[in-house]
C-alpha cells in the first residue's frame, strides 16, 4: 500500500502556530520533539515529521478503514536528510513503512509505502504551479484516458483501469494550491 502528503510551507506557517504550548507535545513523541529542537530549521523539521505521519496514516487507514487522530502512534525515524531530500521509516504498531520526502523552500512532499521496493516503483506527481478547483477535477486531467479516478464509500481513492477493470490504489494530497498524488502502475501490484 501507498500514501502521500504535501504541505505548502507558507500556508502551514499561516494556519498553525507550532510554538503554541502543547502543539508539539500532542502531535509528536519526545524523541521527535528533540529532533525538532535540535534542527537548524525547526519549522521545516516539524512539517517534515508531520508529513511522514500523515502519509503513513493514509496507508494504515486504507488497511483498517478506521479513522483515528493518533499522531503519537506513528514513530518517525529519519535515516537520511540532505539538502532537499529526506528518507526513513515510520513504525505504526507492528507495521513498518518507508518514506521519501522532497523538501523545497515552498513545500514538503512525502510519499510512503509498505516496502522499500514499492516506494521505488510508484509514480509520484507533485503539481505546485496550478490553481485548480476541488480534487477529482484536478486529478482526472493528469491521468491517461484509460484511467478513471474515484473514491469508495469510505472516501478512499482508487484508479480504475477501464481496459482491464483493474482497480489500483492512489493516494491524493492537497494543501493550499498544491496537489500531489502517488499511484501504482498496472502489473506492479502490492
Amino acid at each position: 500500500m501507498i500514501g502521500n502528503d504535501i504541505i505548502a510551507l507558507q500556508v502551514a506557517a499561516q494556519e498553525s502556530r507550532i510554538n503554541r504550548k502543547g502543539f508539539l507535545e500532542k502531535l509528536f513523541l519526545p524523541e521527535e520533539i528533540q529532533m525538532i529542537y535540535h534542527s537548524p530549521d525547526p519549522a521545516t523539521t516539524t512539517w517534515l515529521l508531520w508529513s511522514c505521519k500523515e502519509a503513513v496514516y493514509k496507508i494504515i487507514h486504507r488497511y483498517t478503514r478506521e479513522r483515528r487522530y493518533a499522531p503519537q502512534r506513528f514513530h518517525c525515524y529519519l535515516q537520511q536528510q540532505e539538502r532537499g531530500a529526506a528518507s526513513g521509516m515510520v513504525v505504526y504498531q507492528q507495521q513498518t513503512c518507508y518514506f521519501q520526502s522532497t523538501i523545497t523552500t515552498d513545500y514538503i512532499h512525502t510519499y510512503a509505502a509498505v516496502t522499500p521496493a514499492l516506494l521505488k516503483e510508484m509514480e509520484v506527481f507533485a503539481d505546485t504551479t496550478q490553481h485548480y478547483p476541488s480534487t477529482p477535477q484536478r486529478i482526472q486531467p493528469l491521468l491517461s484516458n484509460n484511467e478513471l479516478f474515484y473514491k469508495d464509500e469510505a472516501g478512499i481513492p482508487y484508479i480504475l483501469h477501464r481496459d482491464t477493470g483493474e482497480q489500483l490504489p492512489v493516494s491524493v494530497s492537497h494543501h493550499g494550491n498544491y496537489l500531489a498524488f502517488v499511484k501504482l502502475s498496472p502489473l506492479e501490484k502490492v
Binding site: 494556519e15 498553525s16 503554541r20 500532542k26 487522530y69
Partner: protein, 84 residues
C-alpha cells in the same frame, strides 16, 4: 451544560479553523471536524488545545484519538467536567 450551549461554544472554537462555512453554520452533534468542517488535520490539535483551555481540562491521547466530531468532543468534555 446543555447540548445547545456546548455546540455554540464549540462553534466559536472551531470557527478559525473551519474551511467549510456552510457546514459551520449548520453545526450539530453529528458534524465531523475533518470531513464536514474541512478542518485540516494539523489544525485539529488546535481544536483539542482550545477545548482544553476553554474548559480547563486535560485531554489524554486516547481521548484525542476519537475526538473527530462534535458528539465525541461533547462526550469527552462532559466526562472530564464530571470528574472535577
Amino acid at each position: 451544560m446543555d447540548k445547545e450551549t456546548f455546540i455554540e461554544q464549540l462553534r466559536e472554537i472551531v470557527k478559525p479553523y473551519a474551511k467549510n462555512q456552510e457546514a459551520l453554520a449548520g453545526i450539530n452533534a453529528n458534524t465531523d471536524f475533518i470531513t464536514d468542517l474541512k478542518i485540516n488535520s494539523a489544525n485539529l490539535v488546535d481544536v483539542v488545545l482550545d477545548v482544553e483551555e476553554k474548559y480547563d481540562i486535560v485531554i489524554q491521547n486516547e481521548e484525542m484519538e476519537r475526538m473527530l466530531n462534535v458528539q465525541a468532543a461533547m462526550d469527552i468534555v462532559e466526562a472530564k467536567l464530571k470528574e472535577k
